[in-house]
Amino acid sequence: MASTATATAVPAPRLNRTLDYRVSLTLAVIALIFGAYGVFRVLVFKEHGALTSYVPWGLWVGVYVFLVWLEVGMILTYFLLRRFLRIEGLRLLAPVAMLAAISALLGALFVIGMDLGHPFRFWKAYLQPNFGSLMSWMIWLHTLYLGILTAELFAYFRGKVYVDRWKIYLNFLTYISIPIGVLLIAVIGGLFGVVAARPFWNASVLPLMFFIASLVAGLGLLTLLHLLFSPTRGTPQYETTAIQMARVFLGAIVIGMIASLANGLVIAYPNVPAYAEGLKLVLFGPYWWTIWIVHLGIGVLVPLVLLSIWRTRLWAIGTASVCYLVGFTMVPVNIIIPGLAYPMPTMEGIKDAFYHSKLTFDYTPMFMEWQVVVFAVGISLLVFTVGYRYIVEPYLREHH
């Protein structure tokens, strides 16, 4: 689904052509088939990949956090760009953004469900919750968020958006989705931040960092969605909007970088082992390339260059957003795993106290873990493709 700006005057919603739809659907099905065996192994053989008792969270939790950043960040940035920067060209992108958010959210819920030791006991979190735990808050807020987005999309689907009564209802949902989204991100940041046992996570700034990360990642995805699916394609407004978004995107990347640098320096400067060990693992550990090459190289440097030099070129904006999203996948993984991958101070002896492959601080995701992730991506892609075809496209065709 490459973005090719055409000079036609008539808006042409993306995926209304059978070829695009089929390609997207085929990709989703391939992803589902590729990942099916991994899911089978989790559900039937009860395997948990390379996770150990000392590194109990890994790739799946990282991908979950990434998808939540995307889903919430996209809705938040959409709201901010529309309300405060008055970017009118995004008006028609609302149902696309909502559908993309729901798709990401379902993928996130799937991948975190696979991470549970007893996935079919998930209902206990709803019926017997402990609201003293941030994880309960996360689950409830997530569900609430899913409900709000689904209700909004349903309203679009029913074409009731222009009926006054429904407009009030929709406005209410939109406004309520903003604080809930902010709260959800803060809660997920807090979920890690409150763990005093893990000094690398245990910082009051972590919820704020998650919030910034969510906004930047969401903005990257929103820019990409605009380039690929905006109903204003082919109009001058389409290009203007893209350039406006690129400018904001560039600023957001710079702010994100400054925030990360400040946080990193605060950890690195005192060089207290309990805190600095995690940072050292991120920067110089066995997976140093994920931060230096994937995140900082592809995810930050390339977009910065592209958006600084070719800021008005659509191909550059598109490439920058794709690079940023690809590079950003490594960020939550590089927060979660290094925080767990070393023994706590005074407990160093635990490393060699008892030998078993599941009692180690070494963690490298197994192939089946990647399969589960691909399956989750397949779910998201399938939901988005089908949703676009049968919900968004009829809406756009009817009203615009």
């Binding site: 009860k46 006991r121 979190a125 994880m135 309960s136 106290a353 008892f354 492959s357």
Partner: protein, 332 residues
């Protein structure tokens, strides 16, 4: 109190004093070996040996009927070990000279504590690091008692080399669950699957646990392990041996190791052998310690051994700066 005396290897199973302390035969002089004795010492002759054997047999013959009778009466009254509460109420008292044996002393104190309401007990474990030899007997006995599968360990022994050659030493630190008073693992559980009992032990409900492992990240002692459903014989020609399928009795229930069913897929941790405590027995790690380095008891009882030990100045707790207030103390 003789904490350094080498006591008789008495199992804490409520045997009668007569059984616990059979009359010991006269010992040969310490200087005698299999090859002979040191000059000036008389070796044990055949007559003397036979006389001692005969006296032992005679004593046993006298003691045996009374032992059997006591046992039968106990069974008839429902005061067997398995009956737990009944045994605690009316169990035989140890004689005063047996108090020298710390295991027996702790056993008696345990039963005394079990007669109190649960909220009046405060279980505490004290580990004397000066006595710990790092033999891992406690680790193994814990695994055997709780039928722990591969990859699950409640009480590993951490080893730490201190100093540089030639001034080096080795410190072994057993690490059970600290049963913290302000346990960070408890409030993070999203489904109330873990909580602090009134007597201070951190309990778990395997059937409630969803396996999210948040509690594992929250524990500063790495004391929680996840049951991935491994078996010790996995990958061998004959996997899943029958002994691996024997259920454990943690938390007073039968837990069979079976994929997809609790406790597989759950977080697991040391619980001070609550199922044994309920039956009036000491935790496995305490009774199996070859160096008598682990003590257990009710800190609310001022006369208890553990209360005495933790009142000393040489006690420490792991990561005390975190304020978790562990109920496991170390003597250094």
């Amino acid at each position: 109190m003789k904490t350094t005396a080498t006591p008789d290897p008495v199992e804490a199973t409520g045997r009668t004093p007569v059984e616990e302390a059979p009359p010991e035969p006269e010992q040969a002089p310490a200087s005698c070996t299999e090859r002979g004795c040191a000059a000036g010492e008389k070796p044990m002759g055949r007559k003397r040996f036979l006389a001692q054997v005969a006296s032992m047999v005679g004593l046993s013959a006298v003691a045996l009927p009374s032992l059997v009778r006591a046992g039968l009466e106990a069974v008839a009254d429902g005061r067997t070990e398995e009956s737990g509460a009944g045994f605690l109420k009316d169990g035989p008292e140890f004689e005063e000279d047996e108090a020298a044996n710390i295991i027996i002393r702790m056993q008696r104190e345990l039963r005394k504590a079990m007669r109190k309401p649960i909220e009046q007990r405060k279980w505490v474990m004290v580990i004397d690091l000066r006595k710990c030899t790092g033999c891992n007997a406690c680790t193994i006995s814990c695994i055997a008692e709780n039928h722990l599968p591969g990859g699950v360990v409640y009480r590993p022994v951490m080893e730490e080399e201190i100093g540089t050659y030639p001034n080096v030493s080795l410190r072994s630190t057993p690490r059970p669950c600290m049963q913290c008073e302000t346990a960070p693992c408890v409030p993070v559980c999203p489904v109330h699957a873990t909580w602090i009992r009134p007597d201070g032990i951190i309990d778990m409900d395997y059937d409630q646990c969803i396996g999210c492992r948040y509690c594992m990240t929250a524990c500063p002692y790495h004391a929680r392990t996840f049951d991935f459903g491994y078996s010790y014989t996995e990958g061998t020609p004959e996997p899943d041996q029958p002994y691996e399928k024997v259920p454990s009795f943690e938390y007073g229930k039968r837990w069979k190791q079976q994929k997809g069913r609790s406790p597989t897929g759950n977080v697991r941790k040391c619980h001070f052998c609550t199922h044994k405590l309920d039956a009036g027995m000491l935790p496995s790690c305490v009774t199996s310690c070859i160096g008598y380095a682990t003590y257990f008891g009710d800190a609310n009882d001022p006369d208890s051994l553990v209360a005495e030990l933790i009142s000393r100045g040489n006690k420490i707790r792991l990561k005390e700066e975190m304020g978790t207030r562990p109920r496991v103390f170390y003597l250094i």
